[in-house]
């Protein structure tokens, strides 16, 4: 009579089939940390197209998808790789040409997600006030202050069709723990229609319940879990490994050369890391175990 509670753990293939051409795709993480790279590589390999990317603070994942011609729109407050590459080639050169930019700052981005989460038709934000953001992004409109102050700027809700997140661990029911900073991930998950989380490892429900305060996405907000160790590579995975700066730089160098002398290095990069690997394990093998295990979290400071 009593059926069992269901697992939401699925395969990479099933996960990728949840993303459709034309989708609004939410991407979690922060610049070069905790990016759901393994899921994104599969989406790129499958060639899902006309995607609207919603990635508050983003990096090479967005640039690569633009390079592959899969992107119709980007909503982001930042596309770059900080000291490694303050500006990313495809984003910087193709913005407004092969895809639209929804210019926004991070505070206003959060406001759009909050409007969706609370199902409010608009929320006011300080971010665009006085700036040229409303001229760049026609979604932003002035709103009168009913208490008599100067007008503010309002933004509408933003709802990803599917949000992809990378986190440290989850149980089979989809209770997720980041074991560190969560960035915008909880808001991106709450605002989305579907949420897929890739995790470094699966843990028991008892492990989750030992520290319920550490649960960063309750299972209600998680539709699917895919177990993908080292899945954030070449970005960092909190509590697991640091960024692979050499790998990121190799992509940036190839992308820069695309606009200078030669299109070959980029083609080689994309073949080796996106198109040829048949699986996530294949990808990790092409990166090499030695490289991967060298990405310690020690040092710094």
């Amino acid at each position: 009579m009593v059926s069992e509670r269901h697992s939401v753990v699925i395969s990479m293939e099933e996960a990728v089939s949840m993303v459709k051409d034309g989708d609004i795709l939410g991407i979690g993480g922060f610049v070069t940390t905790n990016k759901p790279m393994a899921l994104l590589r599969s989406i790129m390999k499958e060639g899902k197209k006309d995607l609207a990317l919603v990635a508050g603070t983003s990096s090479i994942e967005v640039d690569m998808m633009i390079a592959l011609g899969l992107v119709r729109e980007v909503t982001s407050s930042y596309v770059g790789a900080e000291a490694l590459a303050p500006i990313l080639p495809f984003y910087s050169r193709r913005a407004g040409r092969t895809f639209q930019v929804r210019d926004i700052d991070q505070g206003t981005f959060i406001t759009m997600l909050r409007a969706q989460i609370l199902r409010l038709p608009f929320l006011p934000s300080w971010g665009p006030v006085g700036t040229t953001m409303p001229a760049l992004n026609p979604l932003i409109k002035p709103v009168a202050d009913p208490f008599g102050g100067p007008p503010l700027m309002a933004v509408p809700p933003l709802a990803p069709d599917v949000t992809l997140i990378h986190a440290a661990q989850a149980d089979i029911y989809g209770n997720v723990q980041h074991l560190g900073a969560v960035y915008c991930d909880p808001m991106l998950a709450r605002a989305a229609k579907k949420v897929i989380v890739q995790v470094e490892r699966l843990v028991s429900n008892e492990e989750i319940r030992k520290n319920p305060g550490a649960t960063t996405l309750a299972c209600k907000f998680v539709d699917a879990v895919v177990v993908l160790p080292y899945g954030a590579h070449p970005t960092a995975s909190q509590n697991y490994y640091s960024i692979d700066a050499a790998h990121i730089s190799s992509y940036v160098k190839a992308a820069r050369e695309f606009f200078a002398d030669s299109k070959e290095p980029l083609e080689e990069y994309l073949n080796k890391y996106i198109k040829q690997p048949e699986s996530h394990i294949d990808y990790l093998e092409s990166v090499g175990l030695k490289n991967i295990l060298g990405l310690s979290l020690e040092g710094g400071l």
Binding site: V31, G300, L301
Partner: protein
């Protein structure tokens, strides 16, 4: 002791404007202000509250920083007293005392542009990385300093092609008040050549200190507008022995500010 380098002077300027108990966010990829804040922290501001990435921390117990360029690193987790989600970071800005801004362009009123170069939204010459959080932060933070790595007519312009964050708007004493911004606006613009404040009335950038080896002529030549030049430009009060010692032996232990 070897005289302070230009970068060290800028860090020390920042340090002197940090007060104990201030809450400050250390940006990534900004080693000079980071050095300035940490110098204050290890000298006169042990109660600083620091926001580094999404970590909330106090580092007054750190004896030496091994690599100033790596402060914004997930390894900082080991010093964290709290994790803050992006949403919580924005909730905290109303209590933030000091923030640092930058720009592809900065205009005479301290407005900043991180969107890109070009006035036609549909056809910019070059897209910048984007404003990150600055549009909202610079509207609401108590005060902020603008930090640019290049002092040229290209970066210090009469009018920004696009505006990603407001300084003193179109100038004048109500340059910000007319928008209703809760934040106090930019206080200083720090470049490799000089430090500027803002004229109280016009809210235009005003030369405060020349930084060696720059001359007044170089400033005028390399600024894309006419900054206010006071009758007498004071020198920045020189570093104290303590400031230089702590900066070199505990904060900038690799000497990256002395290159």
């Amino acid at each position: 002791m070897e005289a302070a380098s230009n970068k060290e002077l800028r860090a020390i300027f920042v340090s002197r404007h940090v007060e104990n108990r201030d809450y400050i966010s250390l940006g990534t990829n900004l080693p000079i202000p980071t050095a300035g804040v940490l110098l204050a922290h290890l000298t006169h501001a042990p109660d600083l509250y620091l926001n580094v990435l999404n970590f909330f921390t106090n580092l007054s117990h750190v004896q030496r920083f091994e690599d100033l360029t790596q402060i914004a690193n997930p390894a900082m987790a080991k010093y964290a007293e709290n994790f803050m989600s992006m949403e919580e970071q924005f909730y905290a800005i109303s209590r933030m005392d000091l923030s640092f801004a930058s720009g592809l362009q900065v205009d005479m009123y301290g407005n900043q542009n991180l969107f890109g170069i070009g006035t036609d939204p549909a056809n910019m010459k070059m897209r910048g990385p984007g404003p990150v959080g600055t549009s909202t932060v610079m509207a609401t933070v108590k005060k902020y300093f603008i930090f640019i790595n290049e002092h040229s007519p290209r970066s210090l312009v009469k009018k920004c092609d696009q505006v990603s964050a407001i300084g003193w708007g179109e100038g004048g004493p109500d340059g910000r008040a007319k928008y209703g911004f809760p934040g106090g606006g930019p206080q200083y613009v720090i470049t490799p050549r000089a430090i500027f404040d803002f004229d109280e009335e016009s809210k235009r950038m005003r030369l405060k200190y020349l930084l060696p080896p720059s001359t007044l002529e170089e400033i005028i030549e390399n600024t894309g507008f006419s900054p206010v030049i006071p009758e007498k430009v004071e020198d920045m009060p020189p570093p104290t022995a303590e400031e230089l010692q702590v900066l070199r032996t505990r904060v900038d232990t690799r000497g990256i500010l002395r290159d």
